[in-house]
Symmetry: C2
Subunit: 305 residues, 2 copies
Amino acid sequence: MKKLAAGIDIGGTNTVFGLVDSSGNILYKDAIPTTKFLLPEDLVKAVASHIQKDSLLFIDKFELLGVGIGAPNGNFFNGTVEFAPNLKWKGIVPLAKLFSDQLNCKAVLTNDAKAAAMGEMIFGGAQGMKDFIFITLGTGLGSGIVVNGQLVYGHDSFAGEIGHVIMFSDGRACGCGRNGCLETYCSATGLIKTYQQLIKNDAQTIDSKYIYDQAQIGDKYALEAFNFSGDILGLALANSVAYTSPEAIFLFGGLALAGDYIFKPTIESFEKNLLRIYKNKIKILPSQLPSNNGAVLGAASLVFF
Amino acid sequence: MKKLAAGIDIGGTNTVFGLVDSSGNILYKDAIPTTKFLLPEDLVKAVASHIQKDSLLFIDKFELLGVGIGAPNGNFFNGTVEFAPNLKWKGIVPLAKLFSDQLNCKAVLTNDAKAAAMGEMIFGGAQGMKDFIFITLGTGLGSGIVVNGQLVYGHDSFAGEIGHVIMFSDGRACGCGRNGCLETYCSATGLIKTYQQLIKNDAQTIDSKYIYDQAQIGDKYALEAFNFSGDILGLALANSVAYTSPEAIFLFGGLALAGDYIFKPTIESFEKNLLRIYKNKIKILPSQLPSNNGAVLGAASLVFF
């Protein structure tokens, strides 16, 4: 029997889930609104019922090996989601146990960026790499660091918050309550803020898609906004190399899809700011995970690792 | 037969070596000037001859298990010292093989700060810890990062250069050719520079011992110099936590011996700059390695790990 993993990505808005085989093929995928469920138990029951129903399609040929869960503020050691600001659930939620009990199989949980990093290693561009850094450039900046073939969890499971490295002590206010965090500059939110400052207009209608479109027609402020983000990201990644000396750094998420607009200034700043011993040997690459399925693949990869 | 390790610390000025048992007792220690030997082969022969002669004292009761070597620009993967700016030897020197051949036992080599970090884990305050960061505050700032019980080497063995994280892009010139590296502020050299700037006097006679003595008699510039170093070190260490979330950070080396003068401002700045999830749970501690024997113990610990 071929073995399948369920990959579940808990987002602030939607929970996306699917069944994935060990080669990374998604055999089935669905989503339900996270916000509809005031209690985590009810979300778990709803997701499990979908998975069980749809698993029937494969039941003769497949076995459900386990459930992998990517969730904001996910604690790998305890299988819990802890005080997640973007979820309605209060306190510490034992989400892995809830899924394990409901689906009668093992359940592995980690935070969403670490799950995607694992996905890159198992199914994506980091296959065969033992040391790499995975960066997701979305609303914020998430990261997963792999050292010697293992995700870095640290003593409390909360390692890998590169988005909250302070770049400028007197910099932009961050949602975390401090100032100058990397993600206030290098994320969709950061790009929008930079562009708004450049054009002296903070209209709510300006989103990263708009800035990308403006860049494509040669708007100098849009290009400058990308360059500014790339400059800071390149410096931050050069500093990151001084910690774990990765073979490559992968960029994932909406901002990474802007291609050269973000990669070119990032790589230029990166090489300029690298310590000499690291120069010209560390690759900055686009993630090889499909942008629409990366979260589910990442979550499922936790089961196969 | 009790097993002994030879620990060898290759310094720019002196090479210190000793025989260490598995409990961290140094049974014998000696030093010879590194600079006296134009060829690494000759240094190896001289050190080996000392060790062989002095091992005779223990020969009935002990066995030489191996040689551990801490050296600037040491490459753990290849056992080589590579383009070390503070040594007279050119290019890539296969120092581990030279020692292994000469002493007819296994030889393990890494850079000096990583060796000391390993010493902290095997013989010092990090015993039983799986995630910690070791910082040596000497002429420069060296570091060793331990994740999940393993030293972080990265893809090329050169991970762990926290001293070369750029804190301010337009900051002080660093020996590495860039500007604003952490070690230009947080090291004996950095402290001296700060003090000289504060008193507007760059006399060569000002050393860190002098600044420490001035602090002890309440000199406000000396105290301010320590506070300035601690402020920046605390911020850098708070950022470091966002990478590997260690249980503790150990400070070793001359500047760490200044006690509260450096620990107090460092810890204050550290807690102030930590992301909330890390606050009040990560310890900044003085190294428990003896300052005069830390390098030899660290080198020897490579054999016992």
